[in-house]
């Protein structure tokens, strides 16, 4: 009497298992090698089928199939276009102006000057002739040399206003912040788990978090009505909803200062987030890579500072940092995982085998970062130039009746161009983006690429520009949206 129903049940399960359709995977936006036209962007699913058929009988991994596809995210398409035809005031005045890559070129002169005054004639040795490549060519500790960790700890502290000290032994150095984020995800979550992330967020997170780990990102939407501030209610809602669907949330991924908005998390907000994390027993990853790119008058408060002062449980907090923004050295690939959790550090150290900082670079940076006087001067000058650029750029946009969200940091501003889009839809936003890129020849990042819930917002990076370039940019925006009535009404 019970055998038959059991057997039937078993076969039903088997049948269901075999025929269960694969979970729809969100398309990880990956950098493209071609620029498909706007129309092709919506045909995602049919394209992927075509693609897997064309691979033929040789099967590569399912992961690779989706990653290898030409990317359709405007974030990457725009980057490509700008790099293929880069603007140069003298040699290529009609080229594409890059406002889509948050790079800081404002203070290279300072770094160059430091190099020429301090570094003698070789990357390997000192001026006194003692040259030894042994120290940099041989295997180094994969998580970075102690000298660099010490120097980095000092630098991070300085950059964040001296309010907190960082412990070198809690640091793991990685080849850029990109692997730092990925490594943390591998340590904190299993395949199929998820992280909550406030929107709009840095498009690269989709790659860093999702590509190879199989971990998902659940957006927690923020709105312009409160200047895209994060709310615990929204976090809670997202957490509960995700849990209902059977996905386990392992943590919150924050960027503070925020990218792309540029606002800061207040001290109170940091407390609230930590309370929330404790209540739900999840991790907090705080990506503070823009901590040293402050131009506003607000004070930056690191997660580390809050942990220091209050009796919060430190084991669930992990900070990510890097030298790509504050020190303008993205090419050198230097990132930091800073954690209070010994087990996470132990695991992360082993994982840095896959993404270590190159030794000659480590040596160079030890020298530079230990030069307190230089760093002091650099930070001051950088802030001044950032402030200046930001003010000019935002004022310029204002002149075109484009207002920006309130921000205090970052290398970009978050501009509201919703009045300039033809229809309040993603299509309308992408059309404007396309016009700006192909007609105006400026590359900006549309809000949809950052998963913004409101349409018409664009991230514009201004630190790759010189002052003289600003009028050019503004003029090009004007030209591109010439036919829109609102713009003409502004002046």
């Amino acid at each position: 009497g019970s055998v038959i129903p059991c057997a039937l049940f078993y076969f039903l399960q088997l049948y269901l298992k075999r025929h269960r359709s694969p979970k729809p995977q969100s398309n990880p936006p990956s950098p493209t090698t071609s620029s498909p036209k706007l129309a092709e962007m919506t045909r995602t699913s049919s394209r992927s089928n075509l693609f897997s058929r064309s691979i033929g009988q040789v099967r590569i991994s399912s992961r690779a199939i989706s990653i290898a596809k030409p990317n359709e995210s405007p974030y990457y398409i725009g980057l490509d276009k700008a790099s293929e035809d880069p603007y140069d005031r003298l040699s290529n005045p009609d080229g594409v102006i890059q406002l889509g890559l948050s790079e800081n070129r404002l203070c290279f002169d300072l770094i160059e000057k430091w190099m020429s005054e301090n570094l003698g004639h070789s990357i390997t040795g000192r001026d006194n002739g003692e040259l030894n490549i042994n120290g940099i060519a041989t295997y180094q500790p994969f998580d970075g040399t102690m000298e660099l960790k010490l120097a980095m700890a000092g630098f991070m502290s300085h950059i964040m206003g001296g309010a907190v000290t960082f412990e070198p032994s809690q640091m793991v150095l990685t080849a850029g912040a990109t692997p730092a984020i990925e490594t943390l995800c591998f340590c904190l979550a299993d395949q199929g788990n998820a992280f909550l992330v406030p929107t709009p967020y840095y498009p690269g997170f989709d790659r860093d978090v999702k590509f190879r780990t199989g971990v998902e990102l659940i957006p927690v939407h923020c709105r312009s009505t409160d200047n895209f501030a994060l709310s615990i209610t929204a976090l809670d809602q997202a957490f509960n909803q995700t849990r209902k669907h059977g996905t386990k949330i392992r943590g919150i991924l924050l960027s503070n200062p925020a990218n792309p908005v540029g606002n800061l998390l207040s001290r109170e907000m940091l407390y609230a987030i930590l309370d929330f994390a404790r209540e739900k027993n999840i991790h907090v990853i705080s990506d503070e890579i823009f901590a040293g790119s402050m131009y506003g008058n607000e004070e930056f408060v690191s997660m580390a500072e809050v942990l220091d002062s209050e009796g919060f449980d430190k084991n669930r907090v992990h900070i990510v940092y890097g030298l790509s923004k504050d020190l303008s050295l993205p090419g050198f690939r230097v990132g930091v995982i800073y954690s209070f959790n010994e087990n996470v550090l132990a695991a992360a150290r082993k994982l840095t085998r896959f993404s270590s900082v190159s030794a000659p670079t480590q040596r160079l940076l030890v020298s530079m970062l230990s030069d307190a006087r230089f760093i002091e001067e650099y930070i001051k000058t950088n802030k001044r130039r950032l402030q200046n650029m930001h003010a000019l750029f935002v004022a310029g946009l204002k002149g075109l009746n484009i207002r920006c969200a309130d921000s205090s940091a970052g290398l970009y501003c978050w501009a509201d161009m919703s009045k300039l889009i033809s229809s309040y839809s993603e299509k309308g936003e992408l059309e404007l983006w396309d016009k700006l890129l192909n007609v105006g020849k400026i590359n900006v990042t549309p809000g949809s690429a950052c998963h913004c819930i409101e349409l018409g917002w664009f991230r514009c990076c201004f630190t790759t520009l010189a002052e003289e370039d600003i009028p050019v940019v503004l003029e090009r925006i004007r030209k591109a949206v010439e036919n829109t009535t609102d713009l003409l009404n502004s002046s």
Binding site: H121, A137, T138, A359
Partner: protein, 493 residues
Amino acid sequence: MEFTRKNRQLLSRIATNDRHGENSPYFDGWKAYDSNPFHPIHNPDGVIQMGLAENPLCFDLIEKWIRENPDASICTAEGLDKFKDIAIYQDYHGLREFREAVAKLMGRVGGNRVTFDPNRIVMSGGATGANETAIFCLADPGDAFLVPSPYYAGFARDLRWRTGVEIVPVHCKSSNNFRITRAALEEAYEKAQRSNINIKGVIITNPSNPLGTVLDKETLRSLVSFVTDKKIHLVSDEIYAATVFSSPRFISVAEVMQDMDCNRDLIHIIYSLSKDMGFPGFRVGIVYSFNDDVTNCARKMSSFGLVSSQTQFLLASMLSDDEFVGNFLRESSKRLAKRRHVFTKGLEEVGISTIKSNAGLFFWMDMRPLLKEQTTKAETELWRVIINKVKLNVSPGSSFHCSEPGWFRVCFANMDDKTVEVALDRIREFVLQGKEENNHEADKSQGRAQRWRKQNLRLSFSSSRLYDESLMSPHMISPHSPIPHSPLVRART
């Protein structure tokens, strides 16, 4: 503390499992070395590091070149004008000059019988990152790769840890010099199929680690036809290609493909500068695939392990200096050959044989005659004696998954000539002592052996903390050169 109890549950499976493979005896030896490193003057009774495949034999040539070419470094007065462009360059395609230089080197190392396409050069975080990336691109969690044994101990981590892919060893035997036979491949493949294991490909190391031998054309052709037949991938890890110091010459799988009917989409090469050039600290790993989709995917993944642009620039300059590269490769071969010969002779004198090898930074030593019995347990016991009594960190064959107990990998390139002498003396003494004992009464030898065993032979360090400290700090690795205590370059101000 409430959290600490829940703590372990809060970490991922990857963070808490031991698929990183660092609990293997291969890594145990590091610890013994680290806690008691040999130094000719300061610590003459310390453990000699012979478990690290590093190649500093030609550092003097590199240093000379760097000194004579200051503009190759963007951080010198001469090279500063390029600084801005390089420091800002984070494009995952990599500097064109760098890719061209690496492609040229790869071609050169293969005897210029193949031209490599710079557009297929994809960066990754060292060879470790390159192998892992290849697997990420080719296989899904749960899939498996066939790997001829004995194989590099680090594969357990590189191929399996984060990828979730399994390794199915293809056991090779000393009776035919550990050749990879078609029959063995077929057998392993069939067996896997029967157990419902999905084989996605084969990984070979050519020249072989730990054997130090190169694959002949016939074996390579057989491998290529095997994977073509089964429609699976072939990953050829060729990071030791330029460490060939005598004939037969190195043959890349790329060369063999040229005049064969095969599916090019299945072939992928891993390269690096850590062994050939002796630059493990620079973290240069290369994935070179003949499959466009794999190249695209690997390139996107390279964001997780890009080579520092500063390093790319330096290497682009250095590797395009044809004269320098030619001279370097020649010298390197010469010095490796000489060093290998010293060991071969030294070991022959005491009746220890090694696999005849012509490449790599190590040799595969036959200690089977010294085993109490032909078991892994006996091998491990012997290894403990070698580490603790003879004070040499060599790597036991079991950590390379060798099916025959009694083999040991010995690295010979990462020490100076004096240390080589000391190492050989110790081996000689140990072997002769062993022979002496065998000539005595059974109970007397048993007594001594028992005494050996009673002494603190157990490697009692907890293996989970193996890699936590700065294991391979530059101060410890190559005791032969007067290493400055800190590579800190102090600023003048």
